[in-house]
Amino acid sequence: MNLFRHNSRVFGIAAILWLASCGGQQPQQTMFRPVGPMSARIEGLWWFIFAIAVAVFVIVWIFLAGAAARRRVHEQLPPELNPDPAREQRYLRRVMVATGITLVVLFAILGHTVVTSKYMNSLQSKNPVTIQVYGHQWWWEVQYPNDDASLWVTTANEIHVPVGVPIVLQTGSRDVIHSFWAPNIQGKRDLIPGHSSAIWFQVDKEGTYRGQCAEFCGHQHAHMAFYIIAESPEKFQAWLDQQRKPAPDPANATLAHGKDVFEKGTCMMCHTIRGTNAGSHVGPDLTHIGSRTSIAAATLPNNPGALAGWISDPQAIKPGVRMPPNPLTGPDLQALVAYLQSLK
């Protein structure tokens, strides 16, 4: 399949498409840079059908242009009522041949599709890394299940995975239909309430890959992104071990004040910080919020300024989001932000 992929790239249009997809410092969210076996096979299927499509388009237009150039007249002639029967017969044969070729091409596409589909189901492992992902309006709940409940990890919007091993995402939705899609890694899958579904994939290259909800899910469908962070198995294990710990106690008076604001204000009505009194599951789990690179479903970078802005007026950033505005005083807000940032 690789051979075909490279052959087809000689087409000029293909080159343009390719360049267009490579330009800029875009976060990795494109099907043209596959980093796993699934997305690589899909890209192969794409170039296969793309080459066929270009060929068909060119051939059809050669015939159309030929017809237009051939017997063109500039006045309205009387209709030709009795076309030459031999010529009609000849054209009929050509139409039949063209239909036959169409059938062959269609079977080629069907065959390639069935084989690729089968491959999509081929990644099986008795011992995959199992991750649970649930869609919410408008964020992603991520869990790393464990038989020992105290080792169960819940986080949000950032999915750490080890490279080179099969991974299965067990998915579901907590409200409306969402669709999980990280094009560099695998095609999308809808998360439908009442139906569970499993997505198998493998990532072979370390890096951060962006994904986004692909099924319209209401007001903030546009701001429902996530990151898949692929790292070496050792780094992944270290991360997981860190996430399994409850939140550390505040190290100084400011952080203690921040924790106090969190527990006595509205925050704890929706959020969990393991190791504190906050234990609600309406919003994302914040136990290790300080270790994440982004907030608000990959809408803002995770830095003190963005976090403070988000906490005081989330409606200005994601209008319609479920989180209410929090009019805190300056010192309270600063302490709260410092506390959250300390939760590595």
Partner: protein, 643 residues
């Protein structure tokens, strides 16, 4: 005093034209406007109304393009944007595409092309127009008052359910479906009966113009597809209004069931829009290649095959829902199979062009545009049929590009061709040449500039239905280019509108048959008189104006002092008997008002179904109550038949 005496006894001095005009005419004045049952008046209303909705939908598209022209734009917020894209899709699909491609064109042209004096069930026809326009007005009034639907044109539950979309927004959407599909079903029945029972003698089924074949097959698809969406939208509105929980997973309902029901309609729907387009393409190509279309039988059978296979591919809209591999591959095969009849049609058209003596006029340039645009859309359709590839491009801008290429390519380009082709028949004047060319090139270039880059955006990860996107995704410059294209398209449509107004007044006089075409609508004057044909024609070939004998007989013995029509047999169009068509009346209008009251009222209270049924019953009784005049006429025919 009966009409019979009215016209024949008291006015012996009238010539045939005047007598027929009197018989088939409408009462004068504003009341007559609401009473008309003439298929050409109703058809023109369908056309103008659907075109206005096309303009409104296009305006929304321009607003969306302005919002997306740069990243993090604050021109429209998510609430407005979500309403606008839902209104754009719903307006274009339900209030423009189907009413225009199917209802407007078939109501106006099918009776003319089969040589009939009016469409079958003319009062139902008037009713279907009023129901359609009231449904459209309801949706747009709701939108203007900030109660426009905001759940996408296919309104998937649970998002469209009572828990996640409170208020009345989604109810207006669901009820609009009821209005428009009721209208579509009524027209479908009329078209089937018009074609099967009122063709001119000699027009056996294998001589039926391909455009009429297309509209009949579309009608049959409407009859089988539209009940599915009326059912699903009614179940949705019941979930919302009386808590039936059909689609509520937390009460044992199933959200996926809705998708199956919707797309069982939704995929045939795109063929309902596209098949009339193929009929237009065959018609225009034959007229300007100066020969009968190559492979008539193959073209007709391909259209029939498309109609059948179109019902077996709906799951390709649901590949990402996680169905078993075997069933997904089955629907891949079915979706690829539909390429075969479309391919056969393409090959027959190319053969027609190749062997004809091509005469390139304004309608033909749109056919050229059709070949370019629709072909690209069809080829990206191959990609979407392949399940794993669909997982990547489904619900992205790639799909947005694909369906605009097939729907505008398969419907709007042929439709503009049809406007240039049939405008002389409807108005008696030709559309202007220079503005016509300007219109085509602005629209064609603007279209490709708008939609071709969307393929690339989709592959580069841009999902559809997002109201904004971050700067760092680098989608901004391509989006800006697309927005410029959208403005060019808009300018093209303005050139067309200007051309229509200009040519309607000052255009060159067309005459009966300006293109030298062969089908029956060109046998009468332009515009046609209210009775269509002075002498009811008979038909001696597929293109009667080309092939009829010089001494081709005409139909005689049909009374001209009452609305008598000839009914023929379905297969060979041999005369069967004579019947009377109903006269103009206000009742279909009043019935549509009563139905509108019931439908809109039921959004607000279930009691509207109970109390609203009373005016519906009263107006329907009035509609079917025989008048003295009609009874007299029927008696008169009885005497004639017994003689």
């Amino acid at each position: 005093m009966s009409t019979v005496e009215n016209i024949s006894a008291t006015t012996p001095h009238l010539d045939r034209h005047e007598r027929l005009s009197l018989t088939w005419g409408d009462p004068p004045g504003i009341l007559g406007w609401f009473m008309t049952v003439n298929h050409k008046r109703v058809g023109k209303r369908f056309m103008i109304t659907a075109f206005i909705f096309f303009l409104l939908g296009g305006l929304l598209a321009v607003l969306m393009r302005l919002q997306l022209s740069r990243p993090e734009n604050h021109f429209l917020g998510p609430d407005k944007y979500n309403q606008i894209f839902t209104m754009h899709g719903s307006t274009m699909m339900f209030l423009f595409a189907v009413p225009m491609m199917f209802e407007a064109l078939s109501v106006y042209f099918v009776p003319l092309m089969v040589g009939a004096r009016n469409i079958a069930f003319p009062r139902l026809n008037a009713f279907s127009y009023y129901v359609y326009v009231f449904g459209g007005i309801m949706l747009w009034v709701a939108f203007v008052y900030n109660a426009g639907p905001d759940v996408g044109w296919f309104a998937y539950p649970p998002l469209s359910g009572p828990a996640f979309t409170p208020g009345k927004r989604a109810d207006f959407w669901a009820q609009m479906i009821t209005f428009t599909e009721l209208s579509g079903l009524a027209v479908a029945v009329e078209v089937v009966v018009t074609v099967m029972k009122t063709r001119a003698p000699g027009m056996s089924l294998n001589r039926l113009p391909i455009f009429c074949w297309a509209e009949v097959i579309t009608s049959l698809m409407v009859i089988f597809a539209m009940p599915a969406v009326m059912l699903s939208s009614t179940m949705l509105i019941m979930d919302r209004l009386i808590a039936t929980h059909f689609f509520n997973p937390s009460e044992g309902g199933d959200a996926l069931l809705y998708q199956h029901m919707f797309w069982f309609f939704g995929h045939p729907e795109v063929y309902i829009i596209f098949i009339p387009g193929t009929g237009i393409v065959s018609t225009i190509i034959a007229a300007f290649s100066r020969r009968k279309v190559f492979g008539y039988t193959a073209l007709v059978l391909s259209t029939v095959a498309t109609g059948f296979i179109g019902f077996g591919v709906w799951v390709h809209h649901m590949f990402a829902t996680g169905l078993p591999q075997l069933s997904e591959n089955f629907f891949t095969a079915a979706s690829l199979m539909i390429v075969v009849p479309t391919g056969v049609q393409f090959f027959c058209w190319i053969a027609t062009l190749w062997s004809g003596r091509l005469h390139f006029e304004l309608p033909m340039q749109w056919i050229g545009g059709f070949f370019f645009v629709f072909l690209i859309g069809g080829l990206t359709g191959l990609m979407l049929a392949a399940v794993p590839l669909d997982w990547q491009v489904h619900d992205t801008y790639f799909v947005v590009a694909h369906f605009h290429y097939v729907l505008l390519g398969g419907a709007v380009f042929p439709l503009f061709g049809a406007f240039y082709y049939w405008f002389p028949k409807i108005t008696g004047r030709m559309l202007g040449e220079a503005l016509g060319k300007l219109h085509f090139w602005l629209f064609f270039i603007g279209f490709n500039l708008t939609f071709f880059p969307m393929h690339i955006l989709g592959l580069r990860g841009m999902p559809r239905r997002i109201y904004t996107y971050p700067v760092e995704m680098h989608w901004g410059s391509v989006n800006a280019l697309e927005s410029i294209g959208a403005i060019l398209m808009g300018l093209g449509v303005l050139a067309f509108i200007w051309n229509v107004f200009q040519s309607n007044r000052f255009g060159r006089i067309a005459g009966a048959d300006p293109w030298g075409a062969g089908t029956l609508e060109w046998a009468t004057t332009s515009p046609p008189p209210n009775y269509n044909f002075l002498d009811l024609p008979t038909v001696g070939g597929r293109e009667p104006l080309w092939e009829n004998a010089p001494d081709q007989p005409i139909v005689t013995g049909v009374r001209e002092d009452m609305r008598e029509v000839l009914v023929t047999r379905p297969m060979d169009a041999e005369p069967e008997h004579l019947t009377l068509y109903p006269s103009p009346t206000i009742w279909p209008f009043l019935t549509s008002l009563a139905v509108t009251g019931l439908f809109i009222g039921s959004i607000f209270t279930p009691w509207a179904v109970v109390w609203g049924a009373i005016p519906v019953a009263i107006t329907l009784t009035g509609w079917f109550w025989p008048t003295k005049k009609e009874t007299e006429e029927k008696k008169e025919i009885e005497v004639w038949e017994n003689r």
